[in-house]
């Protein structure tokens, strides 16, 4: 690692006012320390925000607020999350390992960087790591890459499982900017598509802090599923993942949510398929039709055509699993 100094602000104000260009916040460290060891991130100083930010979960009739420093394992085992937002707990438990979930923070999970192999190897071209150097994956090893929403400048996918559930549940990200002003960014506009600036993963303002994530109260706690397909049964990133949630009136679908990981530069919502399901009967034929609608909007690369078939099957299965949840 490049030598650096470390400070520990006591509160949000200190954390915001104390940060200079070239410095980075650190929470669980499970992504940043790794990137620093590989010389992909080389901050001059770290600001340890483990004390400054909330590690608490607050519930109200309007929804739930998860502090930026709440560890992933704590969210997954929290009683209110398990009863009201079980899709989130399921998605978290499908990610990483118990040790990593004990360390990883809410904010850090949102801001973790792609696992694209070219991004991780500083000897190879990568527009995200070194703008202008080219995208190695576009015509290269792109088995793990995106099938939707990519550009010729970057075909990477966002690696998070937790974020797929948060996208499905219309969460929002609460951030505090350097002026101390707090704003709430809808999850759908938090992460970005690569476009011509793949080096920018998200719309968090420069030097701002994530202070919390909020999920509005919903009725998706009865019929939900998180399905993750990967190269091995556990402790691997998703090839394709699906978060599905339904609200039913008898056998009729009154509301549907469908999101995927492993397919795009950001957690991807299948809006068209959701719209199709709305008002339909919860039948195998309709589930299959919804999966086909989602698959139709994808455009695979040279080595990841398998993801389209996999996605279609995963959506169908996840929707079926919603009925047995």
């Amino acid at each position: 690692m490049k030598p650096f100094t470390l400070r520990k602000p006591n509160d949000i104000k200190q954390a915001l006012s104390g940060k200079k260009a070239g410095e980075a916040y650190i929470a669980g460290g499970t992504n940043l320390v790794d990137l620093m060891k590989k010389h992909i991130a080389e901050p001059d100083a770290l600001l340890d925000v483990t004390t400054a930010l909330s590690a608490g979960i607050e519930t109200s009739s309007r929804g739930i607020r998860i502090g930026a420093m709440v560890r992933n394992s704590h969210i997954a085992s929290h009683a209110a999350i398990q009863s009201q937002y079980p899709l989130l707990a399921k998605a978290i438990l499908a990610g990483a390992s118990p040790q990593i979930r004990n360390m990883a923070s809410t904010a850090g999970n949102l801001l973790q960087r792609t696992r694209c192999p070219y991004f991780y190897d500083i000897t190879l071209p990568c527009n995200k790591r070194k703008p202008g150097s080219g995208c190695g994956a576009l015509e290269g090893e792109n088995r793990m890459s995106a099938i939707v929403g990519y550009s010729e400048h970057c075909v990477a996918v966002h690696p998070s499982d937790m974020c797929v559930a948060l996208a499905a549940l219309d969460a929002s990200v609460v951030v505090s900017g350097s002026g101390g002003k707090s704003e709430s960014i809808p999850f759908a506009s938090f992460h970005r598509l690569p476009g011509t600036t793949p080096e920018i993963d998200n719309n968090l303002p420069v030097n701002a802090l994530i202070t919390a994530v909020e999920i509005p109260a919903n009725a998706f706690h009865k019929h939900y599923a998180y399905l993750k397909v990967r190269d091995r049964t556990s402790y691997a990133f998703a090839l394709v993942s699906v978060a599905a949630a339904l609200q039913l009136s008898g056998t009729k679908i009154t509301a549907a949510r469908l999101a995927s990981g492993g397919v795009a530069h950001k957690p991807w919502r299948w809006h068209e398929a959701e719209k199709f399901l709305q008002g339909k009967e919860a039948t195998a034929a309709n589930f299959s039709q919804a999966a086909a609608i989602a698959a139709r909007s994808t455009k695979p690369l040279s080595h990841n055509g398998y993801k389209v078939t996999m996605l279609q099957g995963a959506i169908e299965t996840a929707l079926h699993n919603c009925l047995n949840a």
Binding site: F4, L6, T30, V33, D34, K37, A96, P98, N102, Y235
Partner: protein
Amino acid sequence: MTNISFTVNGQPRTVTVAPWVSLLDALREHLHLTGTKKGCDHGQCGACTVLCEDKRILSCLTLAVMKNGRSITTIEGIADGEKLHPLQQAFIDHDAFQCGYCTPGQLCSAIGMLHEGKARTREEVKELMSGNLCRCGANVGIIDAIMQVKETYSHE
């Protein structure tokens, strides 16, 4: 260089380390507690697992300076004097290792898992131990050993 004071295996310890020294390197190189192993150094194998206040964490992705004031337990701290921890004995009884390199991490992780109290079935134990890889393929013995200790724990 930063002075950090923390509790390691029940004893107060102070070390002087640079901010970029991992907890793993602080334990091994500065405190000479070489039981905790470095497998990948990137969070991918679990060999470096230690307990921080009963919670299992990866020491290779932890900066030592961020554990100032905390309490760490390593493989050197799990036995009761000469008396092995029940999991250590169970690992011997079930041939739960070959080369032994992953074993300290497996044991600390298993202790953390039993403390979490989430695993009920053998399948759940396997899933919740998946953060610890064993290149010798001793996994069946490892899960057998943990299942045996889990039984006696829940019968107590």
